[in-house]
């Protein structure tokens, strides 16, 4: 019997410190960066390129940059000229024509978006009920704030622009496309052949063509198909198309969830005497939607990115507006700085959403799936 076993009862010997070669920073470096000659060479090469380009970028973007000015000529340093961002800063957020004394309205609407979304995105311990009521009223409230009427000065949609317009298109598309997508998914699973066929044709058609052709339909064809005098404004037409586009993709995501629900669930509900809608709304959908929330968020990210396409049909969203700014004589040549700025804005929004989807995936993964 060895001495350690005589001192400690069997199985209760305290853990020893790992061998010196298997711990600490040196070990980490050896294991992760220099595990072989080839790996070492790759690490050194990549590291050198990375350090070199990051330092170049730092010098250009911050150390030798100009931050203010009223035109590109006002920038005299060797580095970046961020004046194109700072000089027009408010326009990036609110558009060219939105009256500056009313900037508080989109700002307030945007701020209220947080509480309106919170009860759906997070598991709140308190206020969940009242906040859900609030979020049902939110679309009307936001429209009232942005558009006006009833006590507020009216600001028509052709004056909207910039990031505010991007968010309006994104949020409207997201909110409206989810219920339509759920209905389409249910229709595609329906036992009624006509309903199923209609849904399949719609979904496959929309998913088979590029969004830009649908936006062309909105701007060229829709006026042709409506009676004279009945004409929505351009934003609404574009919104309809973006929403339908997104709904078709949403339907496929939801269908994935519906297919994952065991048939026994539906049969049990039927056996209890529940009708179709009761079965779907109370038994199937709550389970199916929970599974596919990450997929839904991914569709939202796609939709948010696709809002930039409205620039092609002449709306001044964040991207369209920036292109217009860059056509201004004062700012020709400031293209890289302006694009890096709006790129950062887009990226932060999309990255935040994808991070949220990943956390959710981990939270929802309650270990029911066999392999992962």
């Amino acid at each position: 019997m060895s001495p350690s076993e005589s001192v400690y009862p069997r199985g209760e010997h305290p853990d020893l410190a790992p061998p010196i070669r298997e711990a600490g920073a040196a070990h980490w470096l050896r294991k992760n960066l220099f595990s072989s000659v080839g790996n070492g060479v790759i690490t050194v090469l990549l590291g050198a390129v990375l350090v070199w380009s990051l330092s170049k970028l730092l010098v250009w973007a911050l150390l030798t940059a100009d931050f203010t000015g009223d035109s590109l000529k006002a920038c005299t340093s060797a580095g970046a000229c961020w004046a194109v961002v700072t000089d027009r800063f408010a326009q990036y957020w609110f558009g060219f024509f939105y009256p500056s004394e009313a900037y508080w309205r989109p700002l307030l609407a945007f701020a209220l978006l947080g509480p309106a979304l919170a009860p759906w995105l997070f598991e709140l311990k308190r206020f969940s009920g009242p906040l859900k009521v609030f979020s049902l009223a939110y679309p009307l409230l936001a429209y009232w704030l942005m558009h006006g009427g009833v006590g507020l000065a009216v600001i028509t949609t052709d004056l909207w622009g910039g990031f505010a317009l991007t968010v309006v298109i994104g949020v409207t598309g997201i909110v409206v496309s989810l219920p339509i997508g759920i209905l389409l998914a249910l229709a595609r699973q329906s036992e009624l052949p006509v309903i199923r066929l209609c849904s399949v044709i719609f979904i496959e058609f929309i998913r088979g063509v590029p969004l830009i052709t649908l936006l062309f339909v909105a701007s060229f064809l829709l006026p042709l198909f409506l009676p004279e005098g009945m004409n929505f404004d351009k934003l609404v037409r574009v919104l309809i198309m973006v929403t339908l586009f997104s709904a078709a993709y949403m339907a496929e995501v939801v269908r994935g969830g519906l297919q994952a629900i065991p048939k026994g669930q539906i049969e049990a509900a039927r056996a209890l005497g529940l009708g179709y809608w009761q079965t779907m709304l109370q038994i199937v959908l709550p389970q199916a939607l929970k599974i596919v929330i990450p997929g839904i968020v991914n569709t939202f990210i796609g939709l948010f990115k696709d809002t930039s396409l409205v620039a092609i049909v002449g709306l001044f969203d964040l991207l369209g507006l920036t292109q217009t700014i860059l056509k201004d004589v004062a700012w020709i040549g400031s293209f890289v700085e302006a694009f890096l700025f709006i790129g950062l804005v887009y990226w932060v929004c999309c990255f935040a959403m994808s991070r949220y989807s990943q956390t959710l995936e981990r939270r929802l993964d309650t270990g029911h799936r066999s392999n992962d």
């Binding site: 990549l46 309903i195 209609c198 969004l211 062309f216 042709l224």
Partner: protein
């Protein structure tokens, strides 16, 4: 009449109202009726509006002369050609950038996807950074960004020259063109024969291995030697029956060679970089989805790591990878329509853009454009389904 009968009639009405089959039929008839009304409403409006605008419907405009120039065409095209020819030119340009994009994005995606799984920390993190940056930026933004950067290349006069054959300027990249001369057909024939013979050798070697357990040493090298050596030999005998048409600057333009316009360069690059990020994630999750026990089992059977990858991991990973990969290819093809933003003459740009504006036949033009993309989508979905049934038959789905 006894009251019971009236009670029964009432009940049978109620039954009818709550009968699932009756309700189903009613819902379907109602749907059809609403659809029919909507179609009629839209069509009658369109008819009225078009009469008011003086537009005649129909596909007669396809035979009209287009009389506008297209900056890049894969087939001969001039101002006297018809709108039908414009459709063909645009469709070919769409297919060109899609195929180029798919090839490059696949290569890049596989590289980055494997990089994500690298045991080198720096490589893994840089691959992750690449994916997160390019996946989370709108594609249109990226296209405009790269196009803007490409336009900052030097003017034609100050082109960057690589040797005397490749020139880069803000109009595009000029590369030499291969001109086939007499006898090049023989080289092509030799290449074909070489490939067939190499394939035959491979089958023979495999049968030898299966039946007698013998391996042919250096089989891949033998195959390459046959496939490359035979045409090379013929080419040597014929003294290389081809020549290069080099681009030469004449004033403000380059003559000769092949000119790749900047719009194509930018579109190709952005489609590659954007789709590559998605493909990288697909490849990574596909490889990660193969249970580690599989490669452990292969190792304990004595397979080397290369063989484990090729014979055990990849075939299983491909089942997971291929379906989403194909849908990325479809996305790339549809996304190539964003060419319209930077003036690359794809189908949407020249046909739904210029032809539509010239003829005013919005309905026909947009329908034809949509039909083109739909045809591609449906064809590929069909192929996809065939592939799925084939891999499924071989041994069941991975889960």
């Amino acid at each position: 009449m006894p009251p019971q009968t009236s009670f029964q009639t009432k009940r049978s009405w109620r039954d009818l109202l709550f009968d699932a089959r009756v309700r189903g039929w009613a819902a379907q008839v109602l749907t059809l009726a609403v659809l029919a009304y909507v179609v009629f409403f839209l069509a009658s409006n369109a008819a009225t509006n078009m009469r008011a605008l003086g537009i005649s419907s129909g596909f007669g405009f396809l035979g009209q002369e287009a009389s506008f120039d297209i900056s890049m065409t894969l087939v001969d095209y001039d101002l006297t050609d018809t709108h039908a020819k414009v459709f063909l030119v645009g469709a070919l340009n769409t297919l060109l950038v899609s195929v180029l994009g798919i090839l490059a994005a696949t290569a890049l995606g596989i590289l980055i996807g494997i990089g994500r799984l690298s045991d080198n920390w720096l490589v893994a993190k840089l691959s992750l950074a690449y994916v997160e940056v390019f996946r989370n930026l709108p594609l249109l933004f990226q296209i405009l960004f790269w196009y803007g950067l490409v336009l900052l290349w030097p003017k034609v006069r100050d082109s960057i020259a690589i040797g005397n054959s490749v020139f880069i300027n803000n109009r595009g990249i000029e590369i030499p063109r291969l001109v086939f001369e007499e006898g090049s057909g023989l080289v092509g024939g030799a290449l074909l024969i070489g490939l067939i013979v190499a394939y035959g050798v491979r089958r023979w070697a495999h049968r030898l291995h299966d039946q007698e357990g013998k391996t042919v040493p250096g089989l891949p090298l033998v195959m390459i030697a046959i496939a490359v050596g035979l045409p090379l030999l013929v080419a040597l005998v014929l003294q290389f029956p081809w020549s290069y048409d080099l681009p030469v600057r004449k004033g403000f333009n380059y003559k000769g060679g092949i000119s790749i316009p900047t719009s194509l360069v930018a579109l190709w690059f952005s489609l590659t970089v954007y789709t590559g990020a998605f493909i990288a994630e697909i490849v990574r999750s596909g490889i990660a989805a193969v249970a580690p026990g599989q490669s452990e089992a292969a190792a304990s059977l004595g397979l080397r790591s290369g063989m484990t990858m090729r014979l055990v991991v990849l075939p299983q990973a491909l089942r997971v990878i291929v379906p989403p990969l194909i849908s990325q290819y479809l996305n790339l093809t549809k996304n190539s329509s964003l060419a319209v933003a930077i003036g690359y003459p794809d189908l949407v740009n020249v046909f739904s853009g210029t032809s539509l504006n010239q003829t005013g036949q919005a309905i026909e033009v947009i329908l034809m454009t949509m039909a083109f993309y739909l045809a591609i989508s449906l064809t590929i979905s069909l192929g996809m389904n065939i592939y799925n049934t084939r891999v499924a038959m071989k041994g069941g789905a991975p889960r």
